[in-house]
Symmetry: C2
Subunit: 262 residues, 2 copies
């Protein structure tokens, strides 16, 4: 029996069979060629797939954390609530992302994580991470690299919030979402389904839903995007990239320092 989206097979007697597939391994494979031993170790992080409905809260701010997760299918987001009730969306999460990494540091979660679509996640214990780092130093290094890339992505957004106009922020968010969707393997060319409400776009960019609406209209009037039926297409991607001050952080990598595989 094939578990849809779970990438795990069940034998006839209901015993799970580990399949040599791991979303996280696939992601790491973008940066290095994994050894068999490394792949095996990574597969252990995804032995317990769990399906969640859209809207499910995976983790709540201030709640105690026990586990980390690998996101296998669907899209999620993390956010914080401020005491005036406003929300800041911190990050959008896609297949291959590691979720709730703060569980490696904090007893209680600094953020809420919620499923934006139906989801498959694989929870795993923190101690697995300890073993992984010990047995596979090269994986430790690549995970560190990916963390650093996320930090740079956060500083990009910080600069956008601090120093760019509403229109630019919205444009940059659209580009980011499209690029992340494209990386999941879907051949999203110029046209893609935008799984965000305008309120969510606002909560990610520090704007109100009303103003997001006007900025989307302006981008449309400027001939940069077209919209319809929950989809967005980039009608002039070059101009959009320029307007959004976009830097592709997947370019210009240099990982030659990595330790040897084990």
């Amino acid at each position: 029996m094939r578990k849809i989206g779970g990438f795990a097979l069940w034998s006839n007697d209901g015993e799970p069979i580990t399949v040599p597939h791991s979303c996280f391994a696939e992601r790491l494979g973008d940066y290095i060629t994994l050894t068999e031993s490394e792949t095996t170790a990574l597969t252990r992080l995804e032995e317990r797939p769990r399906d969640l409905r859209r809207g499910t809260i995976l983790l709540r701010e201030h709640d105690p954390m026990a586990e980390l997760f690998i996101l296998q299918r669907g899209m999620a987001m993390s956010y914080v609530l401020l005491d005036d009730g406003s929300r800041q969306i911190l990050r959008f999460l896609f297949p291959g992302d590691m979720l709730a990494v703060s569980a490696l540091v904090y007893r209680d979660s600094p953020e809420t994580i919620v499923a934006m679509t139906d989801l498959t996640v694989c929870p795993f214990d923190r101690t697995l991470m300890a073993g992984l780092l010990t047995e596979h130093p090269r994986l430790a290094a690549v995970i560190m690299v990916m963390n650093q890339m996320e930090k740079v992505a956060l500083t990009d957004r910080l600069a956008a919030l601090g120093r760019t106009s509403a229109k630019v922020r919205v444009a940059a968010l659209l580009l980011e979402i499209r690029n992340r969707i494209r990386l999941t393997g879907q051949a999203a060319t110029t046209d893609f389904a935008l799984p965000l409400t305008q309120e969510e776009i606002g909560d990610a960019t520090g704007l109100t839903a009303v103003h997001v609406n006007r900025m989307l209209r302006q981008l449309e009037e400027d001939g940069l995007i077209a919209r319809g039926a929950g989809r967005v297409s980039f009608t002039d991607e070059t101009a959009l990239l320029r307007a959004a001050n976009y830097v592709n952080r997947f370019d210009g990598l240099d990982l030659r320092w990595l330790p040897p595989a084990r």
Copy 2:
């Protein structure tokens, strides 16, 4: 002869003697008790201290990177420039911080790093990091923990820029700077030297220098802070913490998952 601030001794014939001291080890010591072998490994990162004058640019955005640094003495900041000439300060850097970690990922620097005071830094090669991760998995884990804490600090600032008023942002920045200064061992109680111009405060908080000035004045009129001669003191720290929505990210740690020391 003692090299002021450099934490290195020179023997009479001018040969440097490695001293069992490392700012980075001291920082890690806040989280774990280091073994002798770990301390020795960390000390190798700080064998080449280098003094820099205030204003020196340690690294320029888009320039190729070769090395990482440990900051031993002084204060620095990192920032990006946008194409309209505006600046976003990303991070303030204090003794014990690791600088230019992006060199583990990118060929060219995504940010500029500049000395805000006279500085001592120790450059070290990326390959040293590879060896460190391989030989000392527990250090790999703790470095990962520190990276994660920095990510949470960035999301805190993201939420501040996206969803809080100018006054709150300035108050939060003052608290952050004071707490970081205090962590360096200086017994900064309520009164501390603020080594930032109002323009720099603005570039960190996404405001203009003019408005920063007005917000500082308001905080003063509200009885939350007092100012004079480049110094700031918190006259009502409780109220300031509340107003700034401050969360101490050094509390509530849980590192029980760490692998054993080697």
